[in-house]
Amino acid sequence: MEKVLEVKDLKISFDTFAGKVHAIRGVEFDLYRGETLAIVGESGSGKSVTTRSIMRLLAKNANVDSGTIMFKNEDLNKKDDKAMQKIRGRDIAMIFQDPMTSLNPTMTIGKQVAEPLRKHEKISKKEAMNTALELLRLVGIPDAEKRLNNYPHQFSGGQRQRIVIAIALICRPEILIADEPTTALDVTIQAQIIELMKDIQEKIRTSIIFITHDLGVVANVADRVAVMYGGRIVEIGTSEEIFYNPQHPYTWGLLSSMPTLETQDSLYAIPGSPPDLLDPPTGDAFYPRNEFAMQIDTEETPPFFEISPTHKAATWLLAPQAPKVTPPQEIVNRHQHFQKIMKERELVQKKLREV
């Protein structure tokens, strides 16, 4: 598999009145061509900062303290602003979490969608506008030709997000970073947008980094899933590995917090509050909220333990010396559910072979 992006030892902090916020504390991951990598994790865990740093769109008070971001054999961290501008929007495009701040309120949407094309490619105004119209239709803006000259505030939250998606896709980027692209959308449009992204991904082999809180969406789109907590990736694996055989106690908590059809009482919520990134705890940042925490969790940061060639998790529970614990019921159910699926699959395969 071809790597298109390789992030290593990324550390980012922010200067604030209260002190240094250690937002990203050693993030590492690879992105392969044509895959969708979902990043999930607690609010404030560093998903947006990680991906914004790839685009080099960090706030002014940000410091990149260490790390490399390799794209096409070059370290993006070392590129100057001018070089980054060429990459942004053409090679790597981003859909932001908040559609309103990524649209220009004083420019018609037709112009805004056409703009990246005009900037990166030699193309006439008319052609660019036609492509823009095509894309606006593709993302499902009703009566698109009538509304080309409307301004962002004249659209609903979801419509604005679809316009943002059109802008991101118009140059057919190599990497698409989508930061909660469907959060503002209803499920129908969400499904359409996801189908659209998959379709375009297949056509131009774009790699997608997809940030979302919606674990249903993750199950639908992701080839692989990275789980973030307190400025680090704490578990990464294929979609099946994360949903059916999760290993990190934070992932357990995450998967247990969703209402299922049977949920009647109050929902399970992970106790406690997120780590204070002004003064991150030593050891496993999750330990104060982890019912399975051991002494070592308070002392030393756990390294990654491999569960399979594609699956690793940073928790001391996986150390050979650690006691065996039983995960929460929801997780046990998931595991059993998966074993049933695997058995069924085997049966089908066997039947197929017999035929």
Partner: protein, 324 residues
């Protein structure tokens, strides 16, 4: 929970509300096109539907951000558009709060979080002195799962989810009776969603709050709502008890919406088939919300009522069979 409607007090009564933009012009948008519904005191009414179907506009009309094109909105027995006296208006502005969809645009970037939260407390003189004000703000910060120390920071220093909780704290500061929650949790991660939803439900029990809960995450809407209204293109197409709509929604648009819900199970997702909704051609029949079974309304013509009744009965029979 709505046990016996005859004993429930209607706190919000929306009658034939219409909200058009750019009326009469080429780009006229009929954002809300004649909807009627009632919300009972202490219940949660979920409003779901396609992006752009008019959910936020409905909410904004209720809090008088717009002047409705037509229709009537009654809050606590009073016609909202007729509130004239300043004191009454102030009362209304306290009683009815909105938590906004966009946590970025709705927080003043130049104000400290403490002051954002305390704005309403100050305007409506809800604190006896400075200490009381600080105490209230600290309690609210903790209530929504933030830290006291966060109070001295500015909105841009927070993540999306954290900002949304600031918005919730601000709304709660006014001790409202009725809160319009416009996608209050979609920017939050699931564990904090769970916290916020638990919090909203707890507050509801304690303070008899009523919610209009706008969202598109149907599994959460179903969990939090007593009743659900499904909107499509400015119209309500189905209204009923949340269990009933979720399990036995009969309007084709509702069915399409339900089939689009992704579940956190890769295997399920691989096999899920989405039903695409094709609006029926306009045959001129007079359609409105009609009751097909107790408390279950569908937007249809007189002739279609028995058709939907049969569909509902069939669906119910089918699940009973599966359960046996």
């Amino acid at each position: 929970m709505v046990a016996d409607k005859t004993q429930e007090k209607i706190i919000l009564d929306v009658e034939n509300l219409k909200q058009y933009f750019n009326e009469g012009q080429r780009d006229e948008v009929r954002a809300v096109d004649g909807i009627s519904f009632q919300i009972f005191e202490g219940e949660t009414f979920g409003l779901v539907g396609e992006s752009g179907c008019g959910k936020s506009t409905t909410g904004r009309s209720i809090i008088r951000l717009y002047h409705p094109t037509a229709g009537k909105i009654e809050f606590d027995g009073e016609d909202v558009s007729k509130i004239k006296r300043r004191a009454d208006m102030e009362h209304f502005r306290r009683d009815v709060q909105m938590i906004y969809q966009d946590p970025y645009a709705s927080l003043n970037p130049r104000m400290k979080v403490r002051d954002i939260i305390a704005e309403g407390i100050d305007i409506h003189h809800l604190a006896t002195d400075v200490d009381d004000r600080n105490q209230q703000v600290n309690d609210l910060l903790e209530l929504v799962g933030l830290d006291r120390s966060h109070g001295t920071r500015y909105p841009h220093e927070f993540s999306g989810g954290q900002r949304q909780r600031i918005g919730i704290a601000r709304a709660l500061a006014m001790q409202p009776k009725f809160i319009i929650c416009d996608e209050p949790i979609s920017a939050l991660d699931v564990s904090i969603q769970a916290q916020v939803v638990n919090l909203l439900m707890e507050l509801q029990q304690k303070k008899k709050l009523t919610y209009l809960f706008i969202a598109h995450d149907l599994s959460m809407v179903k969990y939090i709502s007593d009743r659900i209204g499904v909107m499509y293109y400015g119209k309500l197409v189905e209204v009923g008890k949340s269990e009933e709509i979720y399990n036995f929604g009969v309007h084709p648009y509702t069915e399409s919406l339900l089939s689009a819900i992704p579940l956190p199970d890769p295997e399920h997702e691989r096999t899920r088939r989405r039903i695409v909704y094709k609006p029926a051609v306009n045959d001129g029949a007079e359609r409105e919300l009609r009751e097909i079974s107790e408390g279950h309304f569908v937007y249809c013509s007189e002739e279609e009522v028995p058709v939907f009744q049969k569909k509902l009965a069939d669906k119910k029979a089918q699940t009973e069979k599966v359960e046996v």
